[in-house]
């Protein structure tokens, strides 16, 4: 079964530092996403990426955040100058057929702790 791979599984960083979360989506998928889940809260959409550009972003995804697909396989989320409230599970996802969410596959997540 194809899967979305995320690294690292855990990341602890000091407030104000930059972090890069990495994801390898399913190889034939075209749509890529980042979501986050603060402990005890619901999963929230951050950003979607298609054809090498951001297709949609939420109000959470401010100038502190950026995404990149530096090569044909990796998809990264960069958080500049992390804040305590950025502590959360960050999930990468990819899908193939776009509309309706068919084929949506999530990674196991990166637990980010900002201290």
């Amino acid at each position: 079964e194809p899967e979305v791979t995320q690294t690292p599984s855990h990341q602890v960083t000091q407030m104000g530092q930059e972090v890069i979360l990495r994801c390898v989506p399913i190889s034939n998928h075209l749509y890529f996403y980042w979501y986050r889940q603060i402990l005890g809260q619901k999963v929230e959409f951050l950003v979607s990426f298609y054809n090498n550009e951001i297709s949609e972003k939420s109000e959470i995804f401010d100038d502190q955040f950026s995404v990149e697909r530096p090569d044909g396989s990796n998809f990264t989320l960069k958080i500049r100058s992390t804040k305590l409230e950025d502590s959360a599970m960050y999930f990468c996802a990819s899908s193939d057929q776009g509309p309706y969410g068919y084929g949506y596959t999530f990674g196991s997540g990166t637990r980010l702790t900002v201290v």
Binding site: V43, S48, E56, S95
Partner: protein, 114 residues
């Protein structure tokens, strides 16, 4: 106000019992998905329903999309301890919006006791 309300929030039942969990909204969705999430893991897609009134079955799990595409239910027959987990519903394309992002409910935490 939550866009997608799931109920109940917690459910604890005995093995062999049947159960239904609900996902309700005042908004229309293009499609609705159900996921199961284990602690410390990402959500795993169970089903996608697209057509109003659609019913899909996955072994002992039955999913229904409301006629107006505003709500959905998940029914589990003869629950087993392996069904224990957090069940999430997620809507796509609410009120004619993006068909690419998911809007999640808060989930129903199901515990099936042996």
């Amino acid at each position: 106000t939550q866009l997608l309300e799931q109920s109940p929030q917690f459910l604890s039942i005995q093995e062999g019992e049947n159960l239904t969990v609900y996902c309700n909204s005042s908004s229309v969705f293009s499609s609705l998905q159900w996921y199961r999430q284990e602690p410390g893991e990402g959500p795993v897609l169970l089903v996608t329903v697209v057509t109003g009134g659609e019913v899909k079955k996955l072994k002992r799990l039955t999913f229904q999309f409301g006629d107006a595409r505003k709500d959905s239910s998940l029914h589990i027959t003869a629950a087993q301890p392996g069904d224990t987990g957090l069940y999430l519903c997620a809507g796509v394309g609410h009120s004619g919006g993006s068909n690419y992002k998911l809007t999640f409910g808060k989930g129903t935490l199901l515990t099936v006791n042996p």
